[in-house]
Amino acid sequence: MKDYAERNRLVLHFIVLPSLLLTVVLLGGLRVDADTRQFVFLPPPLVTLLLAALLSSLFLRAGTIDLHRWLAIDQPLLTNLARLLTLLALFFASAQAFNSVLPESGLLHWMFSFFFLWTLWTNQFSAFDARRLLRSLIVLFATAFVLKHLLVSSLYGGDKGWLSRLAGSLLQGASISGPGFAPSTGYISFVALALYVCALLMMSPSAEGHTKSPMLNADLDVPKELPATSEQ
């Protein structure tokens, strides 16, 4: 029984987790053109790399990733290499998750970017634990997803509804338009975000109160204390 659990944890850690993160990297920049129904692959813009760097810093601060245990001098080189690749995959998956929910161009792109930057920057100075950070991220991405794929897509849509007309009046002179993407883009983005959240859940410490991750560091017996949680 113990052997099975150990083996499953290793498979989750070294195979499933990187696969999930890399799938997010793949899907995060994938769009489907509304007219031609062809794939459009958008590499992560520079701003999403900055956002991913800020988010990585939050992961470290909140204890989602304990760098000293992920990469340790007393671990085999193979283990360190595998974990380093997983961390890289996490970084690019974060960038692509942002890419997935950012409008592609125009004023809204910069408004969303500013919103993300502001949120992540202020969070750098807040007290976080891993679970609270995860909840916060789910809300952040869910909000951005709804705004982009439900509200903003209606602005870009062919039929100009009241929202589109209102936005056009409010933002007169400013470019809010962007490329038109098929509704399937929203589904792809949803799957990418769902996989990203699943990967984060797999990485975060378990919910039972003990600090050991459900699968990571299975081979390490040293307990890890979470940072003290304080209400904001």
């Binding site: 990187p18 890399l22 997983t86």
Partner: protein
């Protein structure tokens, strides 16, 4: 399964998957079919559809140039076969050629196709041994197409109407 084996499998899988993603973003396939074609090219097993190529050749010989090009485009969707691109360029040449003037738009597309053909050919040199053609090398065809789009005083030479299509 020992720990080391799982780690090795995970490491190799992660690297292969990451390289595949970088490749997808670099090649930007527009459809799933293009993904499959690009995979064949990457694996070195890409081949043109010979049946479509032969259909195109039949049409070309009956002066159905547009239809021939459509067939050849289907035969070589990735535009990676030098010989097919040569024939596409030739079809543009024959359709665009005129006694008094040449169709610049068609000649430009032909130039693009023959340039592709030259870049795909080994050592940048392609020779097609087809008795139905009067131009047998990609370099000659390129010169012919480029001269067709150039403007010169010789264009006003009335004897030009006696020239022949190659």
């Amino acid at each position: 399964m020992p720990r080391k084996l799982i780690e090795v499998i995970g490491l190799i899988w992660t690297i292969v998957y990451a390289v595949a993603i970088i490749w997808v973003y670099a090649t930007e396939p527009r459809t799933l079919r293009e993904v499959a074609t690009n995979t064949q090219i990457a694996a070195g097993v890409y081949e043109i559809n010979q049946e479509k190529f032969n259909n195109g050749l039949e049409l070309f010989r009956r002066d159905q140039f547009r239809a021939a090009r459509d067939e050849w485009a289907g035969a070589d969707p990735a535009q990676k076969d030098a010989r097919t691109q040569f024939y596409i360029a030739y079809a543009f040449y024959r359709e665009g050629w005129g006694r008094t003037y040449s169709d610049d738009a068609l000649f430009k597309e032909g130039t693009a196709a023959v340039t592709r053909s030259i870049s795909l050919a080994p050592n940048g040199s392609l020779s097609v041994d087809d008795p139905n053609l009067q131009i047998h090398t990609a370099a000659e065809l390129k010169v012919e197409l480029e001269e067709g789009t150039e403007r010169s005083w010789s264009d006003l030479n009335p004897l030009g109407v006696f020239r022949k299509r190659k």
